[in-house]
Structure formats: C-alpha cells, structure tokens
C-alpha cells in the first residue's frame, strides 16, 4: 500500500473509532432516557418522581385481572417477579393482553399507589412456537413464557 493511501486509511479508522466512542458514551449517559419503560422494581425503589408521566413494563400477574362487567374498566397487577404494581385502565386492550403476558402501560401513579394507565400495549417475547409445542411444554411443566420483558433488563 502506498504511504499516502495508508495515511488516508489511518485517518478514516481514527474518525470511525472516535465517533464510536463518542456515540457509546452518549448512549450510556442517556440510558434511562432511551429505555422505553421502568420496571416495577424501579418504581418501587422510587426512581420515578411523584406526578411524573411515565411508562411501566412488566408481566401481567396471573390471577389478578379484574374486568368490570358494565364498562371497559380493568384492574390488574404488573410484576417483574420482584415487585408488583397495581394498574387501572379503561379502554380497549390489545388482543395479546392476557395473564402472564408482557405489557407496557403509559400513565401516572395516583395517591393510592395505583398506576392509572391511559394506554396499555402488549409485548410479545422472542419465543415462537406452535400450539402443539406449547401444549407439550406445558404438559412437561416447563413454562416457556417465564421471561422478563426487555430481555436482559
């Protein structure tokens, strides 16, 4: 390689490396801002300020979904298997909403410690399987949807 070409290649590599480091630091600094939601544990630890509008993400705790019979009001508990947060919502839920399913809810905490959601979204995990495989896994007692939403978080 000719010297002037080597020099050019060096400059390009230097720019690329410098920018990567800069972007990496920025992303790290903005970590909580880039996160889509807080987990119930983060909420329990007081990471969210009072009266703040935010999103919470967790699993719908099994056996906690209580729907009103005369309105679209629904109460349920979201959990990350460490902390629980009760949620109240009035509106149409996504088809994927069910017990044991990951959800993301948007709203704020009221004085009683209930999350008043204005929106509820369903989150599906990374496991695709046919109903037959799911039935076989359930029969074997291995719960395949026992995953935290948000992967490693």
């Amino acid at each position: 390689m000719k010297p002037h070409r080597r020099k050019k290649l060096g400059i390009i590599l230097f720019i690329a490396a410098g920018l990567s480091v800069a972007v990496g630091f920025t992303a790290f600094a903005l970590k909580q801002n880039i996160n889509m939601f807080y987990t119930p544990t983060q909420v329990a630890e007081g990471e969210v300020g009072a009266g703040q509008h935010f999103r919470i993400g967790g699993m719908v705790k099994t056996g906690t979904v209580l729907g009103a019979t005369d309105s679209l009001k629904v109460n349920f508990v979201t959990t990350d298997f460490v902390s629980d947060v009760p949620i109240q919502y009035e509106g149409i839920l996504p088809d994927l909403f069910r017990e044991g399913q990951g959800i993301v809810a948007e709203g704020e905490m009221d004085a009683a410690g209930v999350f008043q959601a204005s929106r509820v979204l369903a989150k599906h995990d990374e496991n695709f399987m046919s109903p037959e495989v799911k039935a076989a896994l359930d029969a074997a007692g291995a719960s395949a949807d026992n995953h935290m939403p948000g992967g490693t978080n």
Partner: protein, 247 residues
Amino acid sequence: MWVWFSKLGSPKWFYELSGKWLPWLIAAMVIFMTIGLVWGLVFLPPDYQQGFTSRILIVHVAVAGTSLAFFPLMLVAGTVTLVWRMKLADMVAKHAAILGAWFSFITLATGSLWGSVMWGTWWEWTDSRLVSMLFQLFLLLGVISLRSALEDSETAAKACALLSIVGCINVVIIKYSVEWWNTLHQVASPVSLDPTSPNGPQFWIATLIMIVAVYLFLSVSLILSTRNEILERERRSQWVQDLVLKN
C-alpha cells in the same frame, strides 16, 4: 492479490463478469424466493399466541436483517473510494444507498403492520429499535440527497463515503438496541435445533431460506443497477460503444 484487486476496479471487467453471474443468481433467487414464500405463507405453523399473524416474520425478519447489510457494504465501498479512488466502488455505493432505503422502508412498514395487530400500536417513538431503524432510513435518504446536492461527482463520492462510514455506527445501535435498552420490540429469537422447544426448525428453516432469497434479491438488484450505472458513466468509452453496436 493486488492484480485481482485492481482488476475489480475496472468497470469493464465487472460488467463482463457480472453478466456471466446474473443468470445463475436470478435462478437461485427465484428458487429460494418461491420455496421461502410458499413455505412461510402456507405451511409455517401458527404461533401459540400470535396465531397466523406471526407469518409476517418471514418477510419482516428477512428484510430487516438484510437491511443491516447496506451500511457495512457502503463502509467497504466508501473506504475503497476514499483510499484507492476506485470508481466502481462509488457506483456500487450509490445504488446500495437507494436499495437500502427501500429495504429500511419495507422493514418499518411490515413491522408497523405487525405491531398494529400484536402490540396495539403502529408506532412508538420511545422504542429504541423502531427509532434507530427509522434513523437508518433517514441516514440513507441523507446519503442519497447529499449525492444529488453536490455537483462535482468526485466531491459527492467522497462526502457520501464519509457519511456512510459514520452511519455504520447506527447499525450496531439497531442490532443491540433491544439488549441495551428495554423496548416494546422483542429481543432476537434464539434458534433451536430441537423441534419440541421454542423457535424450533419449523420456524427458522423457512426464515433462513427467505434470508438467503432476500440477499440474492439484493445482489441481483445491486448488480443490475450498477451495470446501468457503468454504461451511463462509461458511455463514451470504446468498449461500451462496441457493445451498443454489437446489439
């Protein structure tokens, strides 16, 4: 190796060689695309939660995965343009940006359709996977407009190459966004060889065939548009004149 490398930079050589490859690539593309689509849209088992809607993964995953290849491709082409001033590399980069924008758009469109059914939303500005993918589309549109904004083709080639190299960082962000931050978008599905476990071969073999098909489609499209570009830019050269007279 250096002889081969400089030969690669010759548009005439590339035009002749790619002409020989094209029929094979097109045949392979048709075969893989047919098998992948029929398998994926007719025979893929429904997901236990999402039902038949999950079949959209056949298109979405294949196109999304392939769309991440454009910036690395433009990084290589851009580096060759800047360091060795090979014209062919710039021609490839030019059309990779246009194709990449389409791939990014299809990724966003199919993902949005899927999300509207499963998540209950078409779009979430707070999801880093979604936003970083949109950013890739904007970056590619930026590269395309940068080229058309600069009149001098050599300056344009250099500027686009630099932007492509910088834009590569976004590919890493797209890839790891679902792991670094919590998102509505799922994390990457791990493949499993065991047909009785989640993400078994009944799901991923069809997806893999589609990924190969989409990569072949990308290669064919890129070669075809690069060939056009070669003829356009080299139209005054003897070999192109001969080619036109011969046909």
